[in-house]
Amino acid sequence: MTEPAREKIVVTNDTKFLSVVRDFVANQTQTNNIAPDSANKIILAVDEAVANIIEHAYEEQITGTIEIETEISETRFKISIRDSGKKFRPDSVETPNMTEHVKSGKKKGLGIFLMRQIMDEVRYVFKEGIQNELVLVKYLRTG
């Protein structure tokens, strides 16, 4: 069995870097021959996770970093996203009622829901005094 392929990128907490993050993940999916349909969804899930960190983890005007590490094996695509901002538990976010969401004119709050819809695992780990780590896993069809 071959070792999983690992790559890493670090960006600052600015939405202008979302395209850089998407390109990074897209390159990993291409290098590892991930089917386009799965690839597009993985890219979106990572975009949602990073956009969420940019919006919630750091106070305005504070520059912080976000590390995105991919680990790809024959059976799964794992992405670990780390930041040193505020603690945030995605599992505390309830599934939205879309009709209510539309009625209230709310524009935000769908990223976590989308991440859960796409990925097979969404795990959050808070490492005291160090950082937040969000782990996203998509199982890959083999054979």
Binding site: T15, K16, L18, S19, R22, N40, L44, D47, E48, A51, I54, E55, M98, T99, H101, V102, K103, S104, G105, K106, K107, K108, L110, G111, F113, L114, Q117, I118
Partner: protein, 116 residues
Amino acid sequence: MPDFAIETQQIKPGIRFVAVRGFLDAHTYEELDKTISECFDQGVHKLVVDLSRLDYISSAGAGVFIGNIGTAQDNDGNIILLNPSQNVREIFDLLGLTQIFTFAQDVDSAVRLLEK
């Protein structure tokens, strides 16, 4: 070529055509939100939004439509989405929005839906 662009055009009195091109994400959604708000401010609540050249949409982008369709409908209007690519359409599916939004394949059908 820029990563994101919006073009608007009045196609009939009270109906605005809004073409969105490129990548609609947490970095660019505010521009589209501003364009739609400006239409509403001018009393235009019937919008045909052309998504045929939209390469990518995230929840922040979809949120612009979710957050504005109620205002359009409350003012006797609507937001009709024109020709999204399969990738873009899939995000609406994943968010459970295909029951809420009306999709059209060409401008004439979109206008007919708005004039009903």
